[in-house]
């Protein structure tokens, strides 16, 4: 599979001297479904901010499709969708349809083409029939799927989701997982940042674990030893606590 992202010795140092990412090197290919895990503050979101060009490395480089990422920002915007953890700030339409249309309208789409795209994105996010609803009347899970629909409407080849299961109840988690499973079967690259790894364990083809800005594990999820979870403050997904979620 062609390479999508590559980080080479990526370092990020905060103004107070703390290291957010420490000489991190990894590569992500098209079509992968990646679970990025780690405790709070491990550097998961920071790494993704570098992948979408919202942060600049202190040293090292990030490449997107083989070229330095900072030189191909417009292409990154078209190809990579990012669903933030705080969906509230990501929703800026007065109706669901208006919000979903924001991205494609920025790509120059208009009229029936735009309407069709919005409708399709809402269907993909299991939000068909919600077009005229006001976003603030939606539940937490529905809002999360609305943020996802806004991203899907731009037809990205890669979707990054930051803590997509945070504050969601069981049915909402299932809804989000259902959408992700469908997107994966369509061949899209999916990167999910979470510390609730049990929810993505079966779906992911690869797991990356970060701890204090360092890469401590990068392999198939089931090849991780118990020690990794313990060391990185993660709940062990091998135990039988979550049978309803890890079903393939």
């Amino acid at each position: 599979m062609p390479e999508l992202f590559r980080a080479e010795n990526l370092c990020h140092v905060f103004p107070d001297g703390r290291k957010g990412l420490d000489a991190l090197s990894l590569s992500i290919s098209d079509g992968e479904c990646i679970l990025v895990a780690g405790r709070n503050g491990a550097g998961k979101s920071l790494l993704m901010r570098h992948f979408v060009g919202l942060s600049r490395p202190t040293s090292g480089m990030v490449y997107f499709r083989g070229v330095p990422l900072h030189t191909s920002i417009p292409r990154v915007r078209r190809e990579v969708g990012y669903v933030f953890q705080d969906t509230e700030s990501q929703i800026f339409g007065q109706t669901v349809a208006e919000d979903v249309a924001f991205g494609p309208a920025n790509l120059g789409m208009t009229g029936k083409e735009l309407d069709a795209l919005v409708e399709r994105a809402l269907e993909e996010a299991n939000l068909a029939g919600f077009a005229s609803r006001r976003p603030h009347t939606l539940s937490g899970g529905e809002r999360r799927r609305l943020a996802l629909a806004g991203v899907l409407a731009m037809s990205p080849s890669c979707i990054i989701l930051d803590e997509p299961f945070a504050n969601l109840d069981l049915p909402s988690v299932r809804d989000v997982l259902e959408v992700l499973t469908r997107l994966r079967s369509e061949g899209k690259t999916i990167i999910v940042l979470t510390h609730e790894i049990e929810k993505m364990f079966r779906l992911a083809s690869r797991m990356i674990v970060l701890d204090a800005g360092n890469l401590v594990f990068d392999d198939a999820p089931f090849s991780a030893s118990l020690d990794i979870f313990d060391r990185c403050g993660l709940a062990c997904p091998y135990e039988d606590h979550f049978p309803w979620l890890v079903r393939g």
Binding site: V52, L54, P74, R77, R78, G81, Y82, F84, D86, E88, S89, Q90, F92, G93, Q94, T95, E98, A101, F102, G103, A105, N106, L107, G108, M109, T110, L114, R134, H136, G150, V151, M154
Partner: protein, 283 residues
């Protein structure tokens, strides 16, 4: 939760047919009717106030609760007008009539404005503003090449740097006719985001107020220092939300050259604009 319902800025189209009217038609209607309310005689004012009340039909009721604020404002204005008329009396009852008249004007304007705000998609207004600005800009470039435009044209020939002297040439279209759009070329997005943020700031205020109340601090009590502290939180929280929204816009590919959705006017829209303008001419 109950206080959240008082949000007067919320978009609550309800089942009202107003929601289907063209936003620009409604804006022109609002401007014309407000002028009419401010200059009309008592009979017309009563009729307009009645019409404003009828317009609330089909709108959710809770947004109208802030009419209490308008009434308090009117009462305050009435007291200020009547106190110490200058002839030794404490209050002049003769000012009550004009004050009631003034209050009715305020109420009518409030109700018309609320009907407009509750049923209008701000993004549509924003798109029309940007469309107007783009037209104006195009016309200005044709009529009178400004310093910027001159520079742009010269820059297209490869010889001019930006007015700031940074050495960065201003970006131009390949035909040299206009610069690439930047955020200043999209005033509609400013208006849209500002108006869109009003209800969010209001909700934020409610949340901070409630959080303070749980910890024993009440914004509405007369404790100026504590209230200022809470308001400081409001400003910071608002700025944080604005920052996150700007990031989200960036990631969703915000482009000042974005496609605009401009709905055409229909007969009902023309009628909505014509009636108040006609009344304005007649009265």
């Amino acid at each position: 939760m109950a206080r959240q319902r008082l949000n007067p800025f919320a978009f609550e189209p309800g089942a009202s047919p107003l929601a289907r009217l063209h936003p620009v038609a409604k804006l022109i209607f609002l401007l014309a009717i407000t002028s009419l309310v401010m200059k009309s005689g008592v009979t017309l004012l009563l009729a307009l106030a009645l019409a404003a009340t009828v317009l609330q039909w089909g709108l959710p009721l809770h947004g109208g609760a802030s009419i209490g604020f308008v009434l308090w404002l009117s009462l305050f204005a009435a007291i200020v007008r009547g106190v110490l008329p200058g002839d030794g009396r404490l209050f002049d009852p003769a000012t009550l009539g004009p004050s009631a008249y003034y209050a009715l004007r305020l109420v009518a304007v409030f109700l018309f404005s609320r009907a407009f705000y509750a049923t209008t998609r701000i993004a549509e207004i924003g798109d029309w503003i940007t469309a107007g600005w783009r037209l104006l800009r195009k016309a200005l470039i044709r009529i009178r090449p400004s310093r910027r435009t001159g520079n742009v044209i010269a820059s297209a020939r490869g010889s001019v740097t930006s007015p700031g002297g940074t050495g960065d040439a201003i970006e131009v279209d390949t035909d040299g006719s206009a610069p690439h759009a930047d955020i200043a070329d999209d005033p509609g997005i400013f208006i849209t985001l500002t108006l869109l943020f009003l209800p969010r700031i209001f909700d934020l205020y409610t949340r901070i107020d409630e959080a303070g109340e749980i910890r024993g601090i009440r914004l509405r009590r007369r404790n100026v220092l504590r209230s200022l502290g809470m308001l400081q939180q409001l400003v910071f929280a608002g700025m944080r939300q604005a920052y996150r929204t700007s990031l989200a816009m960036e990631v969703r590919g915000y482009n000042p050259d974005r496609a605009l959705r401009l709905r055409p006017f229909n007969a009902a829209d023309w009628a909505v604009m014509a009636v108040p303008l006609l009344l304005l001419l007649l009265f």
